[in-house]
Symmetry: C2
Subunit: 216 residues, 2 copies
């Protein structure tokens, strides 16, 4: 379930405030979902609340963390230390959630050897060895679009089965491999779509096209 991380975050906030128990209604509001959905999600993973009281925050944090596999640390490799890769590498919010930045790789000789956040950038040629040695289980691709598929293939060949892809391409991978794609251009385009709807929607279909192609 993709909502568990959201619940977990909300629970951490509550825990930090010293709150011991929480009702499904309160937690659902904090997570921005329906309370019935929340209860169904929680019951689905076998956690029990107490009727008349609610859920014990600490217990739920542990249950969800375990379900998500956050009771262990995961080693992550960042491939491509350009604009985006550096931002990710310098972000502290990952380490605090059990994700350890274990390796950084790039093809640019000017970047290889650089130290970022206490880690030395390795050359992409060493990919296979680095991934094996560091016990990488998740790869983050922040390389240009044309490089994404080739790099992805190499990563998969090393046995990595989880990939977070920032390049604007559809990656082809074997079934056993999970790919999640973050495409910021698409997010903006979806916003633009709705924005346009609010403003009255598109008009002058055929006319506009002919003018654009042939001139007025």
């Amino acid at each position: 379930m993709a909502r568990l991380p959201v619940y977990l975050r909300a629970l951490h906030v509550l825990a930090d405030r010293g709150i011991v128990t929480v009702s499904s209604e309160e937690l659902a509001a904090a997570a921005g979902v329906n309370s019935a959905k929340l209860r169904k999600d929680l019951s689905h993973l076998g956690s029990y609340g107490t009727r008349g009281v609610g859920y014990e925050v600490q217990y739920l944090v542990y249950q969800i963390s375990r379900e998500l596999g956050l009771t262990q640390d995961w080693s992550v490799a960042i491939i491509g230390l350009g604009n985006l890769g550096r931002a990710l590498a310098g972000y502290g919010g990952f380490a605090s959630r059990g994700f350890r930045m274990a390796a950084m790789l790039d093809a640019d000789p000017a970047i290889v050897g650089e130290r970022i956040n206490g880690l030395t950038v390795e050359h992409i040629d060493k990919l296979e060895r680095v991934i094996t040695d560091c016990g990488i289980s998740i790869a983050v691709l922040a390389v240009p679009a044309p490089a994404a598929q080739p790099v992805c293939d190499r990563v998969v060949a090393c046995g990595v089965t989880s990939i977070l892809n920032f390049a604007p391409v559809v990656l082809t991978v074997p079934d056993r491999v999970d790919v999640r794609k973050v495409d910021l251009s698409i997010e903006l385009q979806i916003l633009a779509f709705h924005e346009q709807r609010k403003a009255g929607g598109p008009a002058g279909v055929e006319q506009e096209y002919l003018e654009a192609v042939d001139g007025p």
Copy 2:
């Protein structure tokens, strides 16, 4: 439909290769979706293909661009020029899709006044004026979590109705406002979840918890 941008990207690739027409089957493969779904999506927005041939690439590009509102330029403000904000500001992939970085805002005096990608970072105090003057219609929030809701409120008060949020918080906004959230920690957590499943799933439920809390 959230898939239109994906189709559009695939079409641009085809157009660059000089391809004139494309069948739903081919385009669907390139976009990573089912061909029936693709045809339904396209028919849904009124575009017509030619039976026995397929769709004209250029025509489809124009149709989808128009539907998404990409025939006009949108002015975007980036708020928070830290790690992530800078990466976004320096990214060329937005401008080429009709999104103009029109304003940058930050609260840190050390950052205000800096020039990034040809634009001067303004102080967040000037938010209201900048948004109005630059005709901002989309705001990108790349500020720390605690600052997100207050900044969001101010942006919404200026009349902005589209927000892209990178802060790990659930934003509360009026109904007319669209918020899209990009949460990279959640993406990693979802990958970890599946990774754990592949490795055999969680085991030793109650036992583990009691040990973690009470000691062995």
